[in-house]
Amino acid sequence: MSSVLLRRERAIGIALLAPTVLLFGVLILYPMLQSIWLSLHRTNTLTLRQNWAGLDNYADLFADPAFWRSFLNTLIWTGGAMSLQLVVGVGIALLLHGSLVGRALARGLVLFPYLLPTAVAVLVWRWLFNDLYGFLNSVLLRLGIIEHPLAWLSQMPDAMISVILVGTWKFFPFVVIAVLARLQAIPDALYEAARIDGASRFAMFKDITLPQLSGVLSIVVLLRAIWDFKEFDLVYLMTGGGPGIGTQTLPILVYRQAFQMLNFGRGAAVAATMCVFMLLFFAIYAWANRRLVVSDR
């Protein structure tokens, strides 16, 4: 009798788990394995004809200086954009958490860049950066700061700096939302006690706000790092990866290999390598984060 019950319970358990496993298999595992399988072949994007290549795609990739330059660009873009998003996002969240005239309106408006479609945002920014008619050049020329218009998107390192700044503007609201929500949950009593003890504003920020935010910030860093690392549209639309390959990131390299060079296998190899790099980074990040939490305790 008990074994029948056990079998029935096991069957129910399997039935309940099955949809999740099925969805995971179809939506995540299959595409991932398919991508790895593709990367082991020479695959023509047009015809999808395949020849076994073994690790040749990876060997060619690692021997290609353009791959390493793209990898470096991806790190610079991800590191630069994410750091600025954190600084600006936390700063503005603190500002919006305080008493401010028109706070409700400001909280609504701050979301604007995040809600704007990337293509539209890039169009506006490209216009602002335009070498001949751009607002930025026009202002700087009128103020006498520059004598000739600058090519913001056509020379290095200006192009990378411009892309990072636009990326920061576009995505910092995500940090604001997350941090603001957490700020509102910090008990006032903590600040009250600190004030009674004579703590300065900076001390309160360092010893109360920041530790309280550490949990949400670690999630924000993780998510923003993943999203920025694989960001394609903003960088591609801003500079197309140029000048030269100065702002070519790994996702742009995937696109170029798969859809311009019609070499699906090589594109898949770049994508698989990206995945490994990301896993590696996040394993290190999780380990460091855990150590930090343990040492705090």
Binding site: T47, L132, S154, G240, G241, P243, G244, I245
Partner: protein, 437 residues
Amino acid sequence: MSRRKPLTLSRRAILAGSMATLLSAPAVRAQRKTTLRFWTSQGAPPQMAAWKDIFQRFEQQNPQFTVAIELFSDDDVWPKLTAGFAAHNLPDLVSYVQAYSVATLAANDLLEPFDDVVKAVGEDDFYPAMRDVYKYKGHYIAATLNNQTSSNLWYRKDLLSQAGLAPPKSWTELVDAAKKQTKGDIYGNSLPFGRTSMASTMMVNFVHQAGGLIVNPDGSVGFNSPATVAALEFLQEVAPYAPPGANSYSWGEVLNSFVTGRAAMAPYTGRPIAIVAAQNPGILDSISVVPYPFRTGGKQTFDCAFNSLFIPRGAANVTGAKLLAKALYEKRNYIQFLHTAPGHNLPALKSIAASPELFDLPLMQKFRPEIEQMMVSTAAARNLVQETPESPYNLKAGDIFNSGVLAESIQDVLINKMTPTAAAAKGGDKIAQILKG
């Protein structure tokens, strides 16, 4: 009971509906029209209006068909086509894909024969270069729908005469004219130095104008040559007189800089005519065009896109697509579409070029000498798929073009400060790899 009643009614309704559907199916089938899917990159409002007009007439003459227009941009033609081939969900007729991309499709045996269409339109009516660029293994694989060369130099008559100069004919004269016209906020000339399709297109022609080739007729690499070095040296000389952002310029930026009057000279197709008329009519009387200057000791050459019309292998309705293709070459339809971009879209058919109706538009009349000159240049143009009459059909032209190697050689010199000799050698090696791969 009250809960069951609606269910009973619903069953009846479903049964009745099913019966009605089954009974009426043959009639519906008889009335059903076949939709022909037409892909084009030409989706500006005047062009869409012309397509709709043309297709309406086609549908009246061929009531069994309706035509659905699907737009693509030059940048997303490959992702769209590859997805189409992978999903066996293809358009019936594709327009405006350039010759080097058609070569890639031909190399993969992904095109339906197009002989019927070319023969029905009239083989002899096509300009030979525009017809033969799509002749592969004795068959037509596509046809040039219309064409335009960008190997022209647009200039401002007023600025040139202020500088006391005549329109340049050689690279040396062009550099001199660019230098003398660079004043205040006007740049002497605009050129595309970005890793873009315009830079690659121009680079092919610069090498040809210097007397060289990208791929030799025997199939060997021609790029690493003194001609390429000369072309890169010319670009090095002329670059200081281009707008500061030229390192990322492509078609749009080059056109803008000339149309708005910020560049005194620029290479382009005939498009500035309509754009200047619409957006900066104040300079319309001052603009004119000459064939793009070439290297002294080199030769006058022109490069063309040969905007194609083809049927992808696997299209659902090849017969209908061929009917539609033929209709696009009918005089009324053809001229109506050419008029959507006066002076830019030039005819591939001699009979249309000779037709008085072609110039039956005020702008076409005003710029008639310039347009006729561009038609002559376009008729003499070549493309990377067949650089010389002796060259075999280059099935790797698309791979070379899309790899960006041609534009990269410009960027290596202008951005990475490589010597022209080193850049030509690097580009040559990369092309050799592509030809081998």
